[in-house]
Symmetry: C2
Subunit: 482 residues, 2 copies
């Protein structure tokens, strides 16, 4: 393990994070809020510590970067970003407890959106901006990670999609990552700008528009309002959110194609077709049971159903209504939605549709294999047969996901959290969604949970965000053997 | 599909079931209960209908029996046994509603032990005997099925163990099944007799001793007492139950070896070692948290912890105490235990330890594969490498199990059952355990559930009992294609 290169890159990330924290100051000055000093100290402090680490390790050869270093950098990267990103909240006193501040920041960078804040609107503008900005940065990080870096590390069947990004060739890591990253970031910036503009058209001020666009495009879910999206009562604004959440839950490679006028994927991309079909089907289902509950205000019922299905499926986690108080069985359906996840290569977390599709197709094929034991029954995805290695990898991912969910639920329950809340909190944090069920439901927050539970949930957000294997592999003895 | 041979065997099963029902009359006469007529009508009726079906189809060639016919016979077999076995309860009026009676009988034959009876002790002796007898018959059926028939049909990785039964050779189905069945039934009868005797020594009368031995050896869980095993306050009797539940949850092949003085399996059988280790580990864990709750009555705390861990792990479902009122997190732990299952080739249901072991080992190996992509990392079981076909089959089983659990929970929840009860009832029925959590907890029963839910749960018991694939395959189009 070449620790020098690991720390060198971590130092570089801290330098960047210091600069990111400082950006909030612009809003502090404009809105004359009193958090300038807190942001300045944290930003400069983070920048300087990063600079010192970078300086001390700068003689390392970047070319020595191997797979193991890659895993470690990715995991440590998210951790140090959250550790340092939490500081402004503590210094200002908005979140005096560091555990809470870390939870909130990890929730931001992992685009989860689970919050410990009871009164969000009390926060000054600079901190509110920074809080939403972590979503956007995390989302940007995850797109590059999942489409450019993870495929090289062989994680989670992501190889399936990587090859489709134009300009991506199985070559050296450097030009590949750089080229892919540029194209994807461009799209990400354009989409965020478009949403911001459309929200301003809908009557939001620039601050609200940009922070909520950050949270949407990162499929994060932090709002700057206590009532989340319910604050914006305009149906137009809510439909804008629905549209952009759906966009953010798509594979960004498809956006690249769409920007170049190539809409073939509408016909050929298996995951997109399922994504669209699943969203429509589940929304219709929810509408049927929900519309009678809103006294047949048709438009409102349709909008609320669509909103929450898209919000939970894409792992955004915005809410406009307390789904725990919908029809009695809504709890069950929304709980199950916590396990879906958007498309691979999106900013969404969770298991992701592609894995569900492959698992489902393969299990079904297993039945056929029992009848015709000698027949070769290929699993098709995007009109190509999926290799057995990828199927095996996807199955292992699913099983790890369930194991992690079960063990974490047990531990959190042992720490005194009641059954429904324990499984709700665990599911929503591994899946990077935000709201759960029970006392961490859509209108509640995570502040009342014991401190140890908050650390465990922060860890789960990280593991879920980084496709499990990236983090878990570090705990495997084989990782540390020469 | 050769329906003639299918119906021929179904007819034969009905003839047998008619005779089985009649056996209850012995106890009716001895205890002078008034259910003789109900048993007589049902028994003779079942016998005659079976005889007519058998007669009408008897010219079929038994040698034409293929795999498809095998699947159909097994599924239909369990269904017609339950359909006809439910009749005495309805005729006598003990369970006037046929849905309830069918649920109870399916619960018996699948060795689940979930009951809709609120006052069990009101039932006459003949019916009580018949109710417990279904467990024993179901258990006997499942051992032969899982160790002699399913391996030939290629179900659920069971091939792993089949080859170990002495006298089993990959030859024609007839001699193999017959030979294996004889040996296993002998052991089953001997163990049941031993438990009955030891319970009589503990002060039980013959009726209580034999009915509870039936329920233990079949890992069923029906008691003839309203308080289940809590009725027998003697610690000796409870330890006897713990011991025989543990025995019934073992692979019966191991009993065969033990009877022949061969105890090698203690060293070489992977699943047994995990079974023992898991039981001890989880029991110790429960003891630590439970003993303070019984005011440090050490023996009682140890016994209760051990009893419920063994009872749920082996999928028996006997209870001596309301675990829902233990330490607050006990609900979580006992809920998770619903997903374990005993050993393969036992009378227990559920996912089964062997599958958990293979899944766990394979997922762990997947981490190693990420680090060394070209290395071949074999999964060892009983000191032999497990083939990739079996791993794939086990993974598909697990995924189907989870899918079935999730979809059924949603449907049951839609039918008006509250969240915790819905997942508890679904888990305990697929796993063939008996008690769940929520309003179907250890001291409750299933009578209050809507009628449709009872049919769905009956179906789940069947699917879980028959290792999923046996039943699900019938719903696959490939099954019906020529």
């Amino acid at each position: 393990m070449n620790f020098k290169v690991v720390f060198n890159i971590i130092g570089f990330l801290l330098i960047l994070n210091g600069l990111f924290i400082l950006t909030g100051i612009g809003f502090s000055i404009y809105h004359q809020s009193d958090d300038i000093l807190a942001l300045l100290i944290s930003g400069v402090g983070t920048f300087l510590s990063g600079f010192i680490i970078w300086l001390a390790t700068r003689k390392s050869e970047i070319t020595e970067l191997g797979k193991r270093e890659g895993y470690l950098i990715v995991s440590l990267g998210w951790i140090v970003m959250s550790l340092s990103g939490a500081i402004p909240f503590v210094i200002y006193g908005a979140i005096p407890n560091y555990t809470d501040a870390f939870f909130e920041t990890m929730s931001g960078f992992t685009t989860t959106g689970a919050s410990i804040l009871t009164d969000i609107e009390k926060l000054p503008y600079g901190l509110l901006f920074w809080r939403s900005f972590t979503h956007w940065l995390g989302g940007m990080g995850i797109i590059v990670l999942s489409l450019a870096i993870l495929p090289l590390l062989g994680i989670g069947g992501m190889q399936l999609f990587a090859a489709e990004v134009p300009g991506v060739i199985k070559d050296k890591i450097h030009p590949r990552v750089k080229e892919t990253a540029k194209r994807l970031w461009g799209i990400y910036v354009i989409l965020t700008a478009a949403e911001t503009l459309l929200l301003i058209v809908g009557g939001l001020n620039f601050f609200d528009a940009i922070t909520h666009s950050f949270a949407t495009m990162g499929t994060g879910g932090f709002s700057t309002k206590n009532n989340s999206i319910a604050y914006f009562t305009s149906p137009y604004v809510q439909y804008i959110f629905i549209f952009f959440m759906f966009i953010a839950g798509m594979n960004f490679t498809l956006h690249y194609f769409a920007f170049h006028g190539n809409f073939n994927f509408l016909k050929t991309n298996t995951e997109f077709k399922y994504y669209l079909g699943f969203t429509i089907f589940v929304s219709l289902f929810i509408m049927v049971i929900h519309i009678p509950y809103v006294d047949f205000h048709w438009e409102e019922g349709i909008r609320q159903s669509l909103f929450h299905v898209v919000s939970l499926t894409t792992t955004t986690g915005f809410v406009t209504s307390d789904y725990e108080n919908w029809a009695p069985f809504s709890r069950m359906i929304f709980f199950v939605l916590l396990f879906i996840g958007g498309c691979a290569g999106s900013t969404g977390g969770g298991i992701k549709l592609v894995r569900h599709i492959i698992l489902f197709k393969n299990s079904w094929a297993e039945l056929k294999r029992l009848i015709h034991p000698r027949a070769v029954i290929p699993i098709k995805f995007n009109n190509k047969a999926v290799s057995s290695e990828i199927i095996s990898n996807v199955q292992a991912f699913f099983i790890f996901y369930i194991l992690l969910f079960v063990f974490s639920s047990i531990i959190i329950s042992l720490l005194g959290v009641e059954f429904v809340t324990a499984i709700g909190a665990t599911a929503t944090c591994i899946g990077n969604i935000g709201p759960g069920i029970g006392t961490v439901g859509p209108v509640s927050n995570f502040s009342h949970l014991p401190e140890t539970v908050k650390w465990i949930l922060s860890f789960l957000m990280l593991v879920g965000r980084l496709e499990l294997f990236t983090v878990l592999i570090i705990f495997s003895p084989a990782f540390w053997k020469k």
